[in-house]
Symmetry: C2
Subunit: 664 residues, 2 copies
């Protein structure tokens, strides 16, 4: 319709004189045939576009890109650049200066003071002796410091992974029955976690982490935080018999039963709550006064020291206050021979490892990326995965359980002014020294304090404002979020994850199975065709129905549905266009990136049905792979080459021209 637009634009200028007007009518005729030629030229471009790369070619290209070194490099250079890629410390280590080290040592010490009590608490949550939490804060941070590229992330045990292990491994062996077997299974699960993470990174399967959508993570974390909080009731109330299940109903039932049937000692609760209030008050002060950031960071350690002293001096442990007791000092022993690869539960352990791997990576990469974007550098997800994998593999051989990047400690590390990952090294060495020297002093630490330290870290995991934001923006996402939340709360951790992943992918598949088709109309004064429901100003062209398929692929899963929707639109369209019979249906395939044999069959059936009704089918803007397959399937021959166009505008112009020719 370019010529109509042209004349409508130019004609209003009546100031041009009859001379110009006369020459204009000649020009319009020239333009008419020029438009035809241009349109044919465009269709020619469409039909003669080069072949798209084949599946085979794409595969080879992608492998080459990922594996191949650039040809310009010599072997030695390539090896060094590979080494630098694997160990980023080789790159930044050279330029490391004393000024940076000053910052890092401060951040590392602050981190260690938070890390020691948290690690003991999380080990307790994971149903392991306290020293295993500290071990996990030694080896993995050191390995990560060599291989990782995030500068702020703080590595060590975290709440959610500890919960995952304590929820899944006891199904195989109850730690209350056989503590050593349980520990060995945890090592083995950690080994699998590391192996999966490294493999994900090596094979560039970073997208697996994306399987947990943002909304699912928000819901899952919220649910996990509440479940972890409920687990702390055991320590806070000093209960002996507890359940191994993690859902709200079982836990509350167990608590009420215990409180009814057993004697319990309110001293635990009083001690725990008073230090919880202390920690929360220091955090409040830290938030109001940014310079006091160290106060909330050392508050947990201070609580541990103070409460231990109180218990030691008052001999409160003889009055029912539960204390840590078992605490072996010294550096990490080897656990190479304790990995259980001959266990009959190897499959189950691999499954647990897989789940932990994905959850741990999700948390670490989310926290790493958000701080990297604050400092303005980019994190390579696949490299991070390899680093995390190696640190957990080595960890599983040195008596550690699964470590990852912690939300709360990373934030502390950042506000303490860390410059590089050296702060992790400082932290690890500090933890190591305290393992050597201080563990005997922690004999009297009350369990209630560990519980209150864990509880104090939980509010950071519950993000109510984000949940509100999700509700405002996307209702389906909110359903996913709530489903994950309730799944964790009332089912189990795995059920919550499964529900979240299931709904997320169900939504994608549903979108493909039930795509929408839209009627298009011309926006006034343009060549642009738009959805007539989105743009009520758009005008339909009489006698021509323009339908756009709104899905990336026309395939087995939706071909019949789309065919049905087009026929329905046709019938409805015919009723509305009652004045003028529909003669042409323009099918806009702009959005359809690929078509399979079922899709082509559906197009052929549509064409046959339209022919029997005397309606011409025109195809507009078939994309690269689509036009290629339509050619291969000989659909273009059936359709007639004159009925394929580059744009909807071209198709409508051609139809109007043909119609005018019919009338003449």
């Amino acid at each position: 319709m370019r010529k109509e637009e042209f004349s409508s634009r130019v004609n209003p200028n009546t100031s041009m004189g009859s001379l110009a007007n006369e020459s204009f009518s000649i020009e319009l005729q020239q333009l008419d045939s020029a438009c035809d030629t241009a349109r044919n030229q465009r269709t020619h471009w469409l039909l003669t576009s080069p072949d798209p790369p084949t599946l085979c070619h794409q595969l080879i290209h992608s492998i080459k890109k990922n594996v191949g070194r650039t040809t310009k490099q010599s072997r030695k250079e390539a090896f060094f650049s590979f080494l630098k890629g694997l160990f980023p410390i080789l790159s930044w280590g050279r330029n490391y200066k004393a000024a940076k080290f000053k910052h890092d040592i401060m951040a590392g010490l602050t981190l260690a003071s938070l890390c020691i009590p948290q690690s003991i608490g999380y080990a307790n949550l994971a149903k392991l002796d306290p020293q295993y939490g500290l071990y996990t804060s030694v080896v993995p941070p050191l390995i990560y410091a060599l291989m990782g590229s995030s500068r702020e992330i703080a590595i060590g045990p975290v709440a959610v992974v500890s919960l995952l292990l304590s929820a899944m491994v006891p199904k195989i062996v109850d730690p209350a029955v056989d503590h050593i077997a349980y520990r060995n299974l945890v090592y083995t699960a950690t080994f699998f976690t590391g192996a999966f993470q490294a493999v994900f990174g090596l094979f560039r399967l970073g997208f697996l982490v994306d399987f947990l959508s943002h909304a699912a993570i928000v819901g899952f974390m919220g649910g996990a935080a509440i479940v972890i909080g409920l687990q702390q009731l055991k320590g806070l109330l000093g209960i002996n018999h507890f359940t191994t299940k993690t859902d709200v109903v079982s836990v509350l039932e167990a608590v009420f039963k215990s409180l009814h049937n057993e004697p319990w000692f309110p001293l635990n609760f009083v001690l725990g709550c008073s230090f919880l209030i202390f920690i929360l008050v220091t955090r409040f002060i830290g938030k109001r006064n940014k310079k006091m950031f160290w106060l909330p960071a050392i508050a947990p350690l201070l609580s541990v020291v103070l409460s231990t002293l109180i218990v030691y001096l008052t001999k409160a442990d003889q009055h029912g206050v539960k204390i840590v007791k078992h605490f072996k000092g010294g550096i990490n022993p080897s656990s190479l021979h304790e990995l259980q690869f001959n266990s009959p539960h190897i499959g189950e352990l691999a499954k647990i490892g897989m789940i932990c791997a994905i959850v741990a990576l999700t948390e670490a990469i989310a926290v790493g990326r958000s701080f990297a974007s604050i400092k303005g550098y980019h994190l390579d997800g696949n490299k991070e995965m390899v680093a995390m994998g190696c640190m957990n593999l080595v960890g599983s051989l040195t008596s550690c359980y699964t470590a990852t990047g912690s939300f709360s400690r990373t934030a502390v590390n950042f506000s303490a002014g860390c410059e590089t990952v050296v702060s992790n090294i400082v932290m690890a060495i500090t933890v190591l020294i305290s393992l050597e020297l201080l563990t005997k002093l922690l004999y009297y630490t009350p369990l209630a304090i560990l519980a209150s330290i864990i509880i104090s870290a939980l509010p950071g995991l519950i993000d109510i404002s984000e949940a509100c934001h999700i509700w405002k923006v996307d209702k389906t996402d909110f359903i996913i979020c709530i489903a994950a939340f309730l799944g964790v709360l009332f089912g189990s951790v795995e059920i919550g994850l499964l529900i979240a992943v299931g709904i997320s992918f169900g939504k994608i598949i549903l979108g493909t199975i039930r795509p929408s088709v839209e009627l298009q109309g011309r926006l006034p004064g343009t060549d642009t065709f738009c959805d007539i429901t989105q743009f009520p100003v758009a005008i339909e062209t009489p006698g021509i129905l323009i339908i756009r398929v709104n899905n990336g692929s026309l395939c087995f899963a939706n071909a019949n549905f789309i065919r049905g929707r087009i026929l329905t639109a046709m019938t409805n369209g015919s009723e509305q266009h009652s004045k003028e019979k529909i003669r042409v249906l323009v099918l806009d395939l702009s959005n359809v990136m690929s078509v399979d044999t079922s899709g082509i069959v559906a197009l052929e059936e549509l064409h046959r049905e339209f022919v029997s009704q005397g309606i011409q089918l025109a195809i507009a803007n078939p994309r690269w792979k689509v036009i290629n397959k339509l050619k291969a399937a000989k659909f273009l021959d059936k359709l007639g080459k004159g009925w394929i166009f580059l744009t909807v505008g071209d198709a409508v112009d051609a139809c109007l021209n043909t119609k005018m020719a019919d009338f003449n």
Copy 2:
């Protein structure tokens, strides 16, 4: 760029005189500001489009559409129209005439002559006594005649479903051990099949049938045909001990073992092969001479009669020829009390019922639709499902096993000139009469003949030319086809189905996880922007990079990937555009139909990164739901309202204008 185009089109006309030229320069200025106004108008349309329907609203609308009767109808009318919808016979039955009945009776009798031997054979394949095959050719066709809307389809037992049952039910109870328990389980599975089919239809879940893609069906049918053929070796060779597995390796092993260890009687083989050759020859004649279509149709019955006579007269059964023997006549007994709902295997039976339901519907609807499209009418998939469901439900109560539409018999029915589904009624009555009168005559029918009748029906299931066509058009589809084929052949029927469905959906999900982004350029002389790899003539605009996201949703599964691809394209683009720094990135969201919170986060991160690099982000053509969510997430405020456009052309024009203003 509309004004540039305009001037380039108009300027070449030098014949217009200086008067016109002068007025043109004024006009160009006017046009300049007119273009700006028009662009702003279009952006205004985009930003003020009405709210898209909410999820809740869509759900209510869809339920209303499916359930609600139109308000104009009275209750009585609505009831009658509902009844007519459920029983199409009430509509066409009134106009049924004697001329049609003449055709139908001919077709029905031809059908019966093919149906009797095939039903006995398929019952044998399903490891049931022969009369159950005949029962299945009586009740289901009668029910379908009342409720179905296809005119050509021939209802009864079919090869693939018989194979499915004989492959899955013996895992619960071996028919050789407890024949009655096996039969009852088959009834129960049939009941579930019917129930699932009816539910699919009532809840309009017709798309479940689409889960098997065209390519998967071709591969699956081919594999099933070979597996069925191999199963017939038992009858053809007269083997006693056979395997219950269906894969090629197990079956061939069992055959070789039997031939080595047991005495076998070549007479079975000779008899079977000679009649197989006879049937194939008649089919060849029927194909060459269209008028002789009845010859291949009655050849199986003729073979049965002849071979039975031969065995009876020569007493060959005493010389090792295996015969049918067990054959109870009479009409279908009730099987209401034999359904096993209290069985501990109820879950497994429901699974079998589900698989049979989908496979049976796939076959029936495929065959129904293809003949309907030949005669030019449309089949409603959901109604057909309800009809099939009811016929199997009733069938399971009257000693039938799963029935569906048969490929081969429907073709015979069609070429015998059937007019309506009355031919099915004629066939059912004929089978009923032979059940009453003729079953005793079939005592001496050799099993080898049944095997050869089944084998003769198999070539129709193997569609090599279609497989070649798939190879030519779509390589991924071919992989799906071959995977299903090999899965059935070397694994089992369920494994083949699972592989096919798995690969099909894996492909859809992969497409969403790894979408492509494309660089766009302007096609010379147009406002159209196209993929520069598909259209090498397209020209990139210096300083502006235009990227189009080629996926229907920007969501958790691909947001990070797309973000990465855009950044890579940006870096590569910067290298190529070395002469002029990229100042604006236009993100064409035409294809993106929906965005979730993860997608919005990715857009926000992109925007932040670009701002830090001094690059402006512009969004072109956000679709209805996308613009709505961008508004809700306040992304538009961050982006700046001036940087959102209806088309890529508008975005580029605006950028060029701003740049010119910068230079001035």
